[in-house]
Amino acid sequence: MTYVAPDGDWTKGPVETRFAVPDMHCAGCIAKIENMLPRQPGIRAARVNFSAKTVAVTHATALTEPDLLRAFDAIGFEAQPLLNEAAVERSAALKRLIRALGVAGFAAMNVMLLSVSVWSGADGNARNLFHWISALIAVPAVAYAGRPFFTSAFRALRVGTTNMDVPITIGVSLATGMSLYETIIGGPHAWFDGALMLLAFLLAGRVLDEMMRGRAASGAEALVRRTAPGAMRLEADGASAWVSADALQVGDRLMIAAGERLAADGIIEQGESRFDLSLLTGESAPVHAGPGDTATAGTLNLDGPVVLRVTAVGEARAIAEIARLMEGAAQSRSRYVRLADRASRLYAPAVHLLAALSFAGWMIAGAGWHQSLLVAIAVLIITCPCALGLAVPVAQVVVCSTMMRKGLLVKDGSALERLAQADEALLDKTGTLTLGRPAPEGIDAIPQAQRAIVRALAMASRHPLAVSLRQALGGADVGPAPLTDIVETPGEGVTARHEGRPVAMRRPRPEELGGDADERAAVALDLGGPAPIVIRFADALRPDAREALGQLAALGLPARIMSGDRGEAVAAVAGALGIAGQGDMRPADKMALLEAEIAAGHRPLMVGDGLNDGPALAAAHVSMAPASASDVGQQAADIVFLGDSLLGLPKAVRAARATMRVVKENFMLAIGYNVLAVPLAMAGKVTPLIAAIAMSTSSIIVIANSLRLRGAVK
């Protein structure tokens, strides 16, 4: 790959590319990226968004994505190009809502100030003046801040349905219009404060709701992101050029360097290497492939360069097949109707009916249309679902921020509702019940004095065993020793010289393994001693796996293993944990099993990590993934848990159930308030003052009740 020098002048204009950098943890990382990246050739500026873990890089147009990724690599960070526009759209929607909330809040406070003066006895000209000022503030504010509700209600009415926004829209616009009329004729009651306070409370609920939803992104998006954005194509004349993934064609020959991700499915023509399939299967052991073998898009070439003949591109790739499965699975989940929506389906017609009844009743009693309409507005304002609109989002936001502090990231508010209903748990094996990475056994056999050499050898390779060894030694305050003549031979290992003596980290010879037919991966270390030190690697069970499954069972979620691994390997783990297990399952099998469970009336919780679990995670009633999961696993799961412990599973279930208890209490409180207030409103006894007090009290009670959830995650 040749490096193209950026234009000296920026005549073509610098472009901005966004990258996801998940490894940013501290202020030091921010400083490092923002200061060091612009020193790389062609890069003008870098700006970190720590909350989203993204970096916006301003660079010369000539720089391609691999150049930029190498620049990240040079300063020690792994980055992934971000292509999703959807996230930008979502944050724009949230911004619109926050702006509307700001306007409604400002207007409500100022109008309330004037209303209090009216209620405390201002009359005559003063009252008229205050009403006029209120009108001047309220009418534009309602028109602006009410738009989210007006458009949603209009959409619902046009297709002949009704939602929570219809009574809100009718209530707010009738109240504003009637108050304007009262102001013009100099009447005693204006409802501007009620209409604005209603909007402010409801918008607060919407903002919280939108924040929760913003975190949920579609899994398929991430899937396409993880395949390489392009590849180096070998032309017929021997030249090579970088082409983007969508320009690749069947029959192209691609040069895949070590450490590169495949952009298309193909057959290897030259060279051999090992491939990391963890994105596809979740299995951590690399697979060896040589000429004639097939390789799949999304896998990572570990050892040496290979030439690949493309057999499938775009939608025909194996990875795209999984994306299709996931899309279908996600559609079945979208049929779940959230509790708040179910409540509003009953609520909206009831409110309309009550308001219409009051109007008709007062008309029949001979009160005249003016007074009847005022009563109907009072009913609409009183019943408008302030507390109901806050009941669910506030509880969810409180519990989610508490869960986040305990290492449980909830991506979607409805996930808590679904998790509270779960009645069985299906778990993947590799990477979920186990740590999903080879952990070295018996590194104590390496003499303390020689650990620095091993660390340095391990740092020279990006083979998973080397990475694991490096991590295991990393905690022991071992700096790498200086090595010379470092050579990495694909499939064989790393050789080098330390103070003149040859040292090596290599594949063990059969006799060194002691003759026992052990399937575990191993490396041999030649450190100058008489015999090499052999280190074996095994994928260990997560700590607390047994206890976590026991707690889940006690909560009424019996666990089962559902794995793509060999049957014997699954049976061994299942036996050790005392649960049932099934192996040799393809992604579609897992999905089919989950769909069968759902059809049988169960509400399965799926816990998995690999790309092969993606469709199952999306098809399950609710799903969780460890933070070590593939991007697709993390994106498809509703809840991601950090750390190695599985105890987050029962913790999350308990928190979800506590949330649903509080949400139901909130609903009872909101409905109880309506039962008390609606008869008063229908009797015509509710003035704007009473409405203001009733609305804010009920909302505050609901918020206070939700705050009890801060201690719910144990």
Binding site: C26, A27, G28, I30, A31, N35, V48, N49, F50, S51, A52, S91, K95, I98, R99, G102, V103, F106, M109, N110, L113, L114, A126, I133, I137
Partner: protein, 49 residues
């Protein structure tokens, strides 16, 4: 009553300036990265400008 004629516009203007300040900070991106803002204060900026 005369006091009101001064006080009400003053109150409204103060409130309005608060709203404008909020909308400006929202537009200027001050709410884009709350976690990062908390972290940046810890960065030692050694390069003298």
């Amino acid at each position: 009553m005369n006091g009101l004629l001064i006080l009400i516009p003053v109150a409204l203007l103060l409130g309005l300036s608060g709203l404008v300040a909020f909308l400006w900070s929202l537009r200027a991106g001050q709410f884009d990265d709350p976690d990062g803002a908390a972290m940046r204060i810890l960065i030692d900026d050694e390069s003298p400008l």
